[in-house]
């Protein structure tokens, strides 16, 4: 007859405790789906949130926030004044220019080997503050912030990644050694294969399969989860490890998400039509609107990716026709980002929300004549920090007349990560235990945060 395992029959009390700590048994079998109260109402001491606007492919600094008008490297792009005297940006950002007092531009990002920078490696580095090497699985900024600011009780995941493009480096968005608890919920993931869905943003931005099968009454779903939990606890106990734990954690968080009213944040159709229009009816625009709705629900970290241009997922990777692509993408960015700032401000959330604008790298100051393009460039490019926790209206560093050389305050990837977390009130020197049993600081010990930028 069938042989079967005689091991791990029954759980000891200690095993039960261990499992509870893993969250496997955190809910009783009965009542898995009581809707949680929407907790946004009172928030006297509001926790901070961070929204990372990620420009996939590498945005040209010269045609956005570090223009060099009237020079050969500057190209045809004109500049405009902002609401801060002495700070000019590219003409593509008339709406953002009115928020310059809330924004700080870093023009001296120095993160890699000039023109030889690689998408995958730099995407990882700018997201984690570390080089991808060796066995250490560095967590992304989103997971680090989720751990520091998020709470275990929250029904929504503490890190939501909107429209990520993970084919450069899948680990760049991951929780690494922090573990599956801090992994992102990803919606509207884009890749090389799914270009035709670009305008299907409403569907893409929804969390699919959030409701049980229609013919399944609530009691029956609860019962199923109960049965599943019994199976899970035996397995996680007898076969501890990342794979089993990740499975149990994902199911636990998924069920939590099903049961919370806060998941309504994903119902963009609840939003006023005019407000939807102002962000722009694009995947990125509506993604920014979703980010605001998630901030209202206390999600501490949200990343929104912009990179789609004319069916190309790497719109910012402007080896060809740099100026046209940058102009189009900047228009989308200006609309969505400025509306995000405005909307957050109207709701009293701008002071507690840090907005970060970044890419994996910038573009070569020299224009490649034949293609009218700009190549990869990691030594002297721009990022922007805006909103809560930031002393706005200033520029850090400069890249000289022609953009070829950082002349002041080079900012490394560790410096950048340290600055962002510090602006969120997190100590960049804090240590987390890594997968190689060695404590690793949030930012590399050599990191030098830009203190003059932090409010």
């Amino acid at each position: 007859m069938f042989g079967f395992s005689r091991r791990s029959e029954g759980l000891s009390r200690r095993d039960w405790l261990k499992l509870s700590a893993l969250g496997v048994c955190s809910a009783s079998v009965s009542g898995w789906l009581p809707a949680l109260a929407n907790e946004t109402a009172q928030n006297s001491q509001r926790r901070k949130s961070c929204i990372l606007l990620w420009m996939n492919g590498g945005a040209s600094q010269l045609d956005t926030f570090d223009p060099k008008p009237g020079t050969p490297n500057g190209g045809p792009v004109k500049v405009i004044d902002t609401n801060v005297e002495g700070i000019q940006i590219a003409e593509h950002f008339p709406k953002l220019a009115k928020f310059m007092d809330k924004m700080a531009i870093i023009r001296s990002m120095n993160t890699g080997p000039g023109q030889n920078a690689d998408h995958g490696q730099e995407t990882f580095q700018v997201h984690t503050g570390y080089q991808p090497r060796g066995a250490i699985q560095y967590p992304s900024l989103g997971s680090l912030v989720a751990k520091e600011i998020g709470t275990d009780e929250s029904a929504l995941p503490n890190y939501v990644n909107i429209a990520p493009f993970r084919q450069f480096n899948a680990d760049a968005a991951g929780a690494g050694f922090l573990g599956p608890k801090y992994a992102p919920l990803m919606v509207a993931e884009t890749n090389y294969y799914q270009q035709q869905n670009a305008n299907d943003y409403d569907k893409m931005l929804k969390v699919q399969d959030l409701a049980p099968f229609t013919d399944l009454v609530k009691e029956r779903f609860d019962a199923r989860i109960g049965l599943l939990q019994d199976l899970e606890k035996d397995f996680v106990t007898s076969r501890p490890g990342v794979a089993a734990k990740s499975h149990a954690t994902a199911y636990e968080r998924a069920v939590k998400l099903m049961q919370t009213a806060a998941a309504k944040a994903f119902n963009l159709e609840e939003e006023d039509a005019k407000n939807r229009d102002r962000y722009g009816r694009t995947l990125f625009g509506q993604g920014c609107l979703l980010a605001r709705r998630l901030v209202e629900q206390h999600v501490p970290f949200i990343e929104v990716t912009l990179g789609q241009f004319g069916g190309n997922q790497l719109g910012w990777d402007t080896h060809q026709n740099n100026f046209e692509a940058v102009k189009r993408l900047s228009g989308e960015l200006d609309l969505a980002w400025s509306s995000l700032m405005e909307d957050l401000k109207e709701r009293g959330l701008l002071d507690s929300t840090l907005i970060v604008w970044a890419s994996e790298f910038g573009r070569t100051p020299k224009i490649t004549p034949n293609s009218n393009g700009r190549e990869h460039w990691a030594s002297g490019w721009s990022t922007v920090l805006a909103g809560g926790g930031i002393k706005g209206g200033q520029v850090i560093g400069n890249t000289g007349k022609d953009g070829m050389k950082i002349e002041e305050r080079p900012v490394t990837a560790p410096d950048f990560i340290a600055t962002v977390v510090k602006a969120l009130g997190i100590d960049p020197k804090k240590q987390n235990m890594s997968n190689v049993d060695r404590p690793i600081r949030i930012a590399d010990p050599k990191a030098d945060p830009i203190n003059e930028l932090i409010a």
Partner: protein, 550 residues
């Protein structure tokens, strides 16, 4: 594909309470004469011969094929000996042996890409021969019902591997798909791994491989070094590698020069931002002797796939070890370096020498590795000293590939995808079959096998998605229909046992059975025993025990 029919027949037999002698003679006959198979070479053009005599390759020190052949069973024992000596030195208490069902599920997932049919599981468990594990390993590779599965699964494995980490995924997918028949042929004929790689680098197939690598010498260089030599060279593309690889930038470009189509003879390649060029040189520091007209890729392939190449055999042995054991002897697998050294250097060295001496026979590795006691340990933890996955003191729990998971669900539920096209993607690169959609949703190509992560969206999809709705529907799932609608005389516990066996390949434990019988007899919240069985089936399919290879 008679196995599905057979399965339901068996279910019927089980319910009828009859003896479990099966329709098929349970006497698998291994047809393992690879030499005979090798004679039936695929109808593919022979690799181009270099026009002139190739270079004289200096024999690198320290590696050569073994002079005395050791057969796979003896090699398995030798491997265990080496693993056990480390246990002893480190005070490791290994886990006990896996029971037959646990072993067979694992083996089926690894070499057939899905959980076993209950027919075969039964056959295996009822088999009383002392060497049944070896006999069935052959059956799963060559048997009538299994040979195709082996070819499907392993050719997908190699294709995805060779066409994975490139910047242009779309192009790589497409190019990889074009080579699908080529991969299948070689797996079917068990072509020596050296010949496969040689053909990829020197035959018509090179065109697709180069295309997937953007036709750039430096990209091809980085990927071939990683794939075929197990070293991560690409960091050295821009600067001397300080991350433990110790490759110099010059070495990278010397190696890349082999792939420079317009590099001349001997081929050279300009080093970016420098005024110098690099001339082709092997990674072990030796140089070919060039004669006019020599094809540089042929020259490289001769060196790379030679029995004395110090990297080649070890790289693939390590990769196969990683595939079966969850963790490489060198791990990460693609980045051997002075900092990333093997956990069992002797084991890697000896197995690689034997592999080379066995004409790079991949099935030799399958046999040698799955025949070890280490492979056949349970994955259940019984002592804290089993926590280091590199000691192989309990079997490392591994995530399934999306293909393994989908095909296992299909096997368990009786789902048949009637779409005849095995491809994942249509011409536009979009998933176009239920299997394709599922695979796209569960694709986690960069996860380590032992650290496969389930995402919230995947959990939601499996709990609430339409496909799972069908799979666990009393009307649409053949398995569930059979179990739920079986004769009234069949006991509840029998039905629950069937659901366990068909999903988890094991019987329920007494406590589980007691709990579930109570649940089903009461009918669950729906007060309907059939619906309650559907609830149990749903929970089993969603469990980590089902979704992981352990």
């Amino acid at each position: 594909m008679g196995s599905h029919k057979l399965k339901f027949l068996v279910l019927g037999l089980l319910f009828a309470g009859g003896a479990l002698s099966l329709a098929r003679a349970a006497e698998p006959e291994p047809k393992q004469e690879e030499k005979a198979a090798a004679k039936a070479e695929p109808a593919l053009p022979a690799p181009e011969k270099p026009e002139l005599v190739g270079p004289v390759i200096e024999r690198p020190e320290g590696f050569a094929p073994a002079e005395t052949l050791i057969d796979a069973p003896a090699m398995s024992s030798r491997i265990d000996q080496l693993i056990q000596s480390q246990w002893k030195a480190k005070g490791v208490t290994p886990a006990e042996a896996a029971d037959d069902a646990e072993f067979f599920r694992r083996l089926s997932l690894h070499i057939n890409g899905r959980i076993p049919t209950i027919t075969q599981l039964k056959d295996f468990l009822d088999d009383t021969r002392a060497d049944k594990k070896r006999i069935w390993t052959e059956e799963l590779m060559h048997g009538r019902d299994n040979a195709d599965l082996y070819v499907n699964h392993l050719s997908t494995f190699w294709r995805q591997l060779f066409f994975s980490q490139t910047n242009n995924q779309m192009q790589a997918q497409y190019a990889g798909m074009q080579l699908d028949p080529w991969f299948r042929n070689h797996v079917k004929n068990n072509t020596g791994y050296d010949k496969v790689v040689r053909e990829l680098l020197t035959g018509q197939q090179y065109q697709q491989f180069a295309q997937a690598n953007e036709n750039k010498a430096e990209t091809i260089a980085g990927n071939t070094a990683r794939l075929f030599l197990g070293v991560k060279l690409e960091c050295a593309q821009c600067h001397d590698d300080k991350s433990g690889g110790n490759w110099t930038r010059m070495q990278f470009w010397e190696y890349a020069a082999f792939f420079n189509r317009n590099g001349g003879t001997p081929p050279t390649i300009p080093i970016p931002d420098k005024k110098t060029v690099a001339q082709a040189r092997f990674l072990d520091g030796t140089s070919p002797q060039w004669r006019g007209g020599a094809n540089s890729q042929t020259v490289l392939a001769d060196w790379m796939t030679s029995g004395t190449n110090p990297f080649f055999a070890k790289a693939v042995v390590n990769r196969m070890w990683h595939y079966f054991m969850g963790v490489g002897l060198v791990d990460p697998v693609d980045a051997a370096s002075e900092e990333n050294v093997p956990s069992h250097p002797e084991l890697l060295d000896e197995l690689a020498r034997q592999f080379a001496a066995h004409n790079f026979d991949l099935k030799y590795l399958v046999r040698a590795i799955t025949g070890t006691q280490a492979y056949q340990l349970t994955s259940a933890r019984s002592h804290e000293s089993q926590d280091d996955p590199r000691q192989f003191a309990r079997f490392n729990v591994q995530g399934m590939t999306p293909e393994q998971l989908f095909d296992s669900i299909s096997e368990a539920t009786g789902f048949r995808d009637n779409n005849p096209i095995p491809n994942r993607f249509n011409m536009f690169g979009q998933p176009n079959t239920p299997r394709g959609e599922f695979i796209a949703k569960f694709s986690n190509p960069h996860d380590k096998r032992t650290e496969t992560k389930t995402s919230i969206l995947q959990a939601l999809f499996l709990m609430n998605g339409k496909q799972m709705g069908d799979w666990t529907s009393l009307e649409k799932s053949k398995t569930l229909e059979t179990v739920a609608n079986a004769a009234a005389s069949i006991s509840t516990s029998r039905r629950i046992e069937e659901l366990f066996i068909v999903t988890l390949s094991r019987k329920p434990r007494p406590a589980e059975l007691e709990r579930l019988v109570k649940y089903v007899d009461a009918g669950g919240p729906a007060k309907d025993p059939k619906k309650a069985l559907a609830d149990v089936f749903w929970a089993l399919l969603n469990s980590g025990e089902f979704m992981l290879n352990h």
